[in-house]
């Protein structure tokens, strides 16, 4: 894929988010956004005057509000400033992070704030998603973002018991992580002993996708402030650097896996990961990254996608889950924040992945801070019909050496 070097480096200097919840009757949309924006400004020790541009993102049709960026001005602080609205489905939170990075890297703005939000309690999520599809055809059949196909595929490949246990294991781990995150929406206090019981008792939604395995519907907002290298170094004591990001979209088709081994279906996650690692000279992503904040809309998908994102083979990804290596103190901590299953204000969700990954690098994640040092983090976004965005974050601004056989050369 065509890819050029950045004009200048970009760092994350401020992070703010709301508590994610299904009970935000106490605030309207701009008021909720204001909470996240204020938190990010406080975190960065900046005021609204310092922000050059706001990139606003959320889903279409979810709150039934037309041009939300206009009346959200009260919350985003965009009064009299440049403000760009982006909406790209579930990936939008990541897209606004990428756009902010691009806007700063290009030299157009020195400091850009990305603001993602959603108030899913105000809208009809499944209805909104369904309206994405072809009105003459698939809109009539679609069941929102719910599908049992991934469960079917995993069961076909690994057997019913192993697959179901892996999915539920992943689910319980996410619940445990969410319990450590003060901002997480759902944490039920699940225990590993409940695993078999939950497989039996949780109501099924579609196929073998069970209620408890699906992501939550949350109200919440997240704001992340991006700055150019010069400003980042001036303003931030613990900057997080954006190394690279990649976006891969796919045609509007709901067939997400193949029915015949001779007719493979291109997996956008795998494709995105392959491209990104190749151009950054990363051979063993599982060893390179210290944490991965993954957009995990359901535990079945999450388990499967580990294989794609980390370029794994066979059942390596299932084993990562089974051996609890994805836990906060494991080999590859996945979503120490509790992930999307824990909190899902959709327009903010993917931005929260970036925010949480950055917090891990800063060492500011609080109770859900990974015990080992975090230098390299990966964050993903997911949306549309299997669209992928991946972003790499770094603690040190030294990867340019890597291209010349520097620090990454060591692990080859």
């Amino acid at each position: 894929m065509a890819h050029r070097k950045k004009n200048r480096n970009v760092g994350i200097i401020g992070i703010g988010q709301t508590k994610h919840s299904s009970h935000r009757e106490d605030v309207n949309q701009p008021e909720m956004i204001h909470e996240a924006v204020s938190a990010a400004l406080t975190d960065a020790n900046l005021t609204m005057k310092d922000i050059d541009c706001i990139v606003h993102g959320n889903m279409e049709l979810f709150e039934m509000v037309h041009q939300p960026d206009l009346w959200h001005t009260l919350g985003t602080g965009a009064y009299g400033k440049e403000c760009i609205r982006i909406t790209t489905g579930g990936t939008v939170g990541m897209t606004i992070a990428c756009a902010s990075d691009n806007l700063v890297a290009s030299g157009l703005y020195d400091i850009v704030m990305a603001v993602g939000f959603e108030k899913l309690q105000e809208g009809h999520t499944t209805g909104g998603i369904t309206n994405m599809a072809d009105p003459l055809w698939f809109r009539n059949l679609q069941t929102g973002a719910l599908t049992g196909s991934k469960a079917y595929e995993l069961i076909s490949e690994f057997g019913e018991e192993r697959a179901k246990r892996a999915s539920m294991m992943y689910r319980i781990i996410m619940d445990k992580h969410a319990g450590l995150n003060q901002y997480a929406h759902r944490s039920f206090g699940l225990e590993f002993e409940q695993l078999d019981d939950l497989i039996k008792s949780s109501p099924k939604l579609v196929g073998d996708l069970k209620l408890i395995e699906m992501c939550s519907q949350s109200d919440g907002a997240c704001a992340v402030i991006f700055a150019c290298e010069k400003k980042t170094k001036e303003l931030s004591r613990h900057p997080v650097w954006i190394r690279d990001h990649i976006t891969v979209h796919k045609e509007e088709v709901f067939q997400i896996f193949g029915y015949h081994k001779d007719y493979p279906v291109l997996q956008s996650h795998r494709f995105a990961a392959d491209q990104l690692y190749k151009r950054n000279n990363i051979d063993k992503p599982l060893e390179y990254f210290d944490v991965f904040e993954m957009y995990d809309p359901a535990s079945w998908w999450a388990v499967d996608w580990l294989r794609d994102f980390f370029q794994l083979r066979g059942d390596e990804h299932i084993m990562l889950v089974e051996e609890k290596e994805i836990m906060i103190d494991g080999k590859m901590p996945i979503n120490p924040s509790g992930g999307v299953i824990g909190s899902n204000p959709i327009g903010a969700t993917a931005l929260i992945r970036v925010a949480e990954a950055a917090l891990q690098i800063r060492g500011d994640a609080g109770k859900h801070q990974i015990p080992k040092p975090v230098k390299h983090a990966l964050a993903s976004g997911f949306g549309g019909t299997m669209w992928t965005v991946l972003m790499m974050l770094e603690k040190e601004l030294n990867w340019q050496e890597a291209d010349n056989g520097g620090i990454l050369g060591n692990q080859r």
């Binding site: 935000r24 009757e25 106490d26 605030v27 309207n28 701009p30 008021e31 909720m32 204001h34 204020s38 005021t47 609204m48 049709l61 709150e63 039934m64 001005t73 009260l74 919350g75 602080g77 009064y79 108030k119 309690q121 105000e122 809208g123 009809h124 209805g127 909104g128 309206n131 009105p135 003459l136």
Partner: protein, 475 residues
Amino acid sequence: MSKKAEQSESFIVEGKLALPYAYFAGRVGSTFITTIRDQKKIMGVRCPACGTVYVPPRQVCDKDFTDIRNNWVTLGNSGTVVNFTVVRYDDRHLPRTAPFVLALIKLDGADTPFMHILEEVAPENVKIGMRVEATFAAKTTNTILDIDHFKPAPEKVRMTTERPEAGRKAWTPGDEPEMQEKRRGGKPDMSTPVIITAALTGAATMKNQNPAVPYTPAEFAEEANKCWKAGAAMVHVHARADNGMATHEHDRIRATHDAIKEKCPGLIVNLSSAVGMGKTAEQRISQIVAVRPEMASLNTNTMNFSIIDRKTGKIFIDYVFENTFTMLQDFGKAMEENGVKPEIECYDMGGLDNIMLVAKQGFFTYPMNFNFVWGVAGGQAFRAESFIAMMNALPPKANFTTCGVGTEEFPCIMQSCLLGGHMRVGLEDNIRMPNGEFAKGSWELVEVAVRIAECLGRSVATPDEARMIMGLKKK
């Protein structure tokens, strides 16, 4: 089988998008709506940093990003139309059937306009600057439509209740020491009720300047009644023909006088003996003798009485207002002989001196009542020290009131009230409120005078008290 698609294969499919959604008003929005619903009160929030008062309220000031959620201020339920549009099409999402008016209304006390439906007025009669007030919905929807609509504001609240002196004990003249002495000592007698005169028309103010100027006897009666209710004890009248021109016709003047007296029998009617430009001395005084009002104006000097551009000095109308000593003498005598108390109009110190010379003939009854007029192009402009000089030159036991042209109205009446004198306001002198908006009538200016009296702790005179003070005999 292989077939190609043709353009003609395309057709239209009817679709629909129907989705339920909710809107969380939040704490600020809920407080706003529930206060309207339960207390019929419209509230805004004031930004402590920039002072802007927002309505509808908001949690954050969009100008400086300050959190303002708890700085509630109660606004008036009335305001001014700052802009409007007439909706002339029907659609099911619209709150009314066309045509209806959506107006941007700046509520009293707010800095931001607020959109709502304006009803009970024909769209063609809606004007920017018109006063409107909220009508609350009988049934709540928990939305902004808990205010059902706005409508043109009738007379202010005071108009529908009682006059300002209602309920207080009537004033009676006591054995106070000579008032003049007090004044000279700089200690005005503030215990005397203040007489408020409403000068409804003058000779020159026309409806195109302020639509509240009365022309017909009925309009005079209506306007006089409003002024009486607002607190005026006296109206000063230049009768008008139907076309708005000042008239010396006895019948018209009498009809105007009588219509007022019929509507508010207690009110003192003070007729002009100037009538209007270009009237002869005979036209000016004969009508007074014919109608015999309780009071009439008596002008004290021959002077320029012109219309001049106040900014550029350009002369629009140059006119000499003739009041010779003979006229002073003849008019004064005619009035006193017919039981009409003169209100002596002084446009400068010279006028006052003139009247005092004629007064030596001894036909004026005491107390003499003076009106200091400020700001006529040809007379003196208002100056505080001039006012005091005028006051100090008054004969013993004299009363004084004052009026000023245009914006001089308010400082001069306030000074008069402050010095124990009386106040004249009205569309004859000034067509605007202190904030520059058009007065909705002389009565609204009377309300300003009432507020001044209230601020200074002076009670407002009833017509009977005014008669006692000015020495009138009720007719």
